[in-house]
């Protein structure tokens, strides 16, 4: 046992600030304090540092996205919250209980207030939809009558009251995940963990499931932790986001702040997926490095947050009197902020380009010259 571990075991929660400032954030549902997770070498495979120096808090009642590429440590992180994994160092505090210090019966009791849904639904094929939802209640020792009433209520909540007696093999992917959600909510948990819950679903079904999660958060006040590798999921649902890369938290905060001013390359690459920072093939293939007579300079403008990116083309044309060509544009809304990029063709030679760039910097737009088109 190393020094960190002996510090983490059996101490009152009041001393947490000694480990981490994030851990003492008021009104946090989940707090990670000085977490690292190492998987030891096994059967010739080298050990893996899955998580290192993790310190952050998940606000009570929030929808928090944890985004990262595969292997970033997302799955380990979420399994620390419900005690399926133990941290190598540090503590995980869920609803003011140190879940990382619990074992056996105490841990199992605490797990009943944390629901989890899975990418592949993980329903029992031998049980009907209703009986799958009943499983956590049977495990918690509810009476038959209570279980029956609660299951009926839950099936209605997730919108599949008519699928009561259907087996999973008779349900669609979306319906299976609804059963999964109902099952996760059965014991009235305070936290719902979603491990890539929409990754196996088509876009339309994904949307419906995310809408359902949003309404569950709104109406039941359940804190939702969304593990995902898909930016679109975070954009549609989360208010808070944590970006994980190679076992480290590289950025965290409000979705609007993080994605209007992304600092880390990983965050920027996730953002590029939704705002399309790469040009479509047709204009991109025509760009050359030298100007030609009567051609246009190609300028890309980043739209990030406030600053009315949606009217920039009209204003630029009007105020500078330029015949601006729109080559490509994508503006999206993330956390209520405009985020995207515009690619413009500016006529009139070097002088016009300089005037345009000066004008853009006046209004705090970041812009770059990509080249020229004929």
């Amino acid at each position: 046992m190393n020094a960190h571990q002996s510090l983490a075991v059996g101490q009152p929660i009041e001393t947490l600030e000694a480990i981490s400032p994030a851990a003492t954030e008021p009104d946090a549902m989940v707090r990670f304090a000085g977490i690292s997770k190492t998987y030891p070498a096994y059967r010739g495979k080298p050990g893996v540092n899955a998580l290192q120096n993790i310190d952050f808090a998940i606000p009570r009642g929030s929808i928090t996205g944890v985004i990262g590429r595969s292997g970033a440590g997302k799955s380990s992180l979420v399994r620390l919250i419900n005690g399926l994994e133990k941290p190598t160092t540090g503590r995980v505090i869920v609803d003011n209980k140190d879940i990382s210090a619990l074992t056996g019966r105490e841990l199992r009791l605490a797990q009943r207030s944390i629901g989890m849904i899975f990418q592949h639904f993980n329903l029992l094929s031998s049980r009907t939809a209703a009986d799958n939802i009943a499983l956590p209640l049977e495990i918690a020792g509810w009476t038959k009558a209570d279980i029956k009433a609660r299951v009926t209520e839950l099936l209605a909540l997730v919108g599949i009251a008519d699928k009561h007696d259907r087996y999973p093999s008779e349900l669609s992917g979306g319906q299976k995940q609804r059963v999964g959600i109902a099952r996760a909510l059965a014991t009235r948990p305070d936290v719902l963990l979603s491990d890539e819950a929409t990754s196996a679903l088509d876009p339309q079904t994904t949307r419906a499931i995310l809408d359902l999660l949003a309404s569950i958060n709104r109406e039941l006040g359940v804190t939702i932790v969304l593990i995902t590798h898909e930016m679109s999921v975070v954009r549609q649902l989360a208010k808070e986001v944590v970006v994980l890369d190679a076992g480290h938290v590289v950025e965290s905060g409000h979705v609007a702040d993080i994605f209007t001013h992304p600092k880390h390359p990983i965050t920027q690459s996730f953002l590029a997926e939704v705002v399309g920072d790469s040009l479509p093939v047709s204009p991109a293939s025509r760009i050359v490095s030298e100007p030609s007579a009567g051609g246009r300079a190609v300028i890309r403008i980043q739209v990030r947050g406030a600053g009315a990116g949606d009217t920039v083309v009209a204003r630029l044309a009007r105020e500078l009197g330029l015949d601006v060509a729109l080559l490509s544009a994508r503006i999206d809304e993330i956390g209520g902020q405009h985020v995207g990029s515009l690619t413009l063709g500016i006529p009139g030679g070097e002088d016009a380009v300089t005037r345009t760039l000066t004008w853009l910097s006046q209004y705090q737009f970041s812009a770059e010259r990509l080249g020229y088109v004929a």
Binding site: L84, R108, M116, N122, I139
Partner: protein, 221 residues
């Protein structure tokens, strides 16, 4: 065929069914928990006990690699201790059980290992105890495989039961050897074979039917 011979066949069928039925029940009673344990006690698993797992694995393999006719003779003192005698159908149940339990355990182990590991994680995530996971997740989910395993075990036991004539266990195999072979009665040999084939078909069909009925992985109306 004379009525006496037909009576002999009926009596022998009864003995075979008695030996195989009881041995299958006892073999399952020992083999099912053993198989579940073998499937869940490796490193990092539900009832992790890697050393016990390895020792039990060796014992199971040793039993399974002993030819049945040798086993029957080798454990005569043990059989006498349990059954009070080493001769007759009841005594024959002892070696039959000892041979079938490890066989059933291996089949159960394979069926349990077929259950998606994600389901164990899921049940753990809502606070199920290891015993609850076995009873509410592993066994129900593996049921189609378990029924097929049991069917296979019963069919094998019918084959084994032909050998217990060596210790006066009776049954169809014994009848076939004594009358069909040693007394040169080919019609008796034929009758024994036909009854055995019919029994195996019956057991296999019943097992297949039950396994299909409980298999909810298949879409059915």
């Amino acid at each position: 065929m004379s009525p006496e011979l037909i009576n002999l066949i009926i009596q022998a069928t009864g003995e075979s069914l008695y030996m195989v039925g009881i041995a299958a029940l006892l073999g399952t009673a020992f083999g099912l928990p053993l198989g579940v344990f073998l499937a869940t006690s490796r490193k990092g698993e539900l009832f992790a006990a890697p050393i016990v797992n390895r020792v039990l694995g060796i014992v199971v393999n040793a039993t399974r690699s002993t030819p049945f006719i040798i086993l029957v003779v080798a454990i005569i003192p043990f059989t006498r201790l349990i059954a009070g005698t080493s001769i007759g159908s009841t005594a024959a149940i002892v070696p039959l059980t000892i041979a079938s339990a490890p066989f059933i355990a291996r089949l159960v182990e394979a069926a349990i290992r077929e259950v998606d590991g994600g389901l164990i994680e899921t049940a753990s995530s809502f606070g199920a105890s290891p015993l609850q996971i076995v009873l509410k997740v592993l066994i129900p989910e593996a049921l189609p495989g378990l029924l097929l395993a049991l069917t296979l075990a019963v069919v094998s036991l019918l084959g084994y039961s032909a050998m217990v004539g060596a210790v006066g266990g009776g049954g169809l195999g014994d009848l076939g050897i004594r009358y069909g072979y040693q007394r040169f009665m080919p019609e008796m040999m034929l009758a024994v074979v036909v009854v055995l084939i019919a029994l195996v078909q019956l057991v296999q069909s019943a097992g297949d039917y039950l396994a299909r009925r409980v298999n909810r992985r298949l879409r059915h109306r």
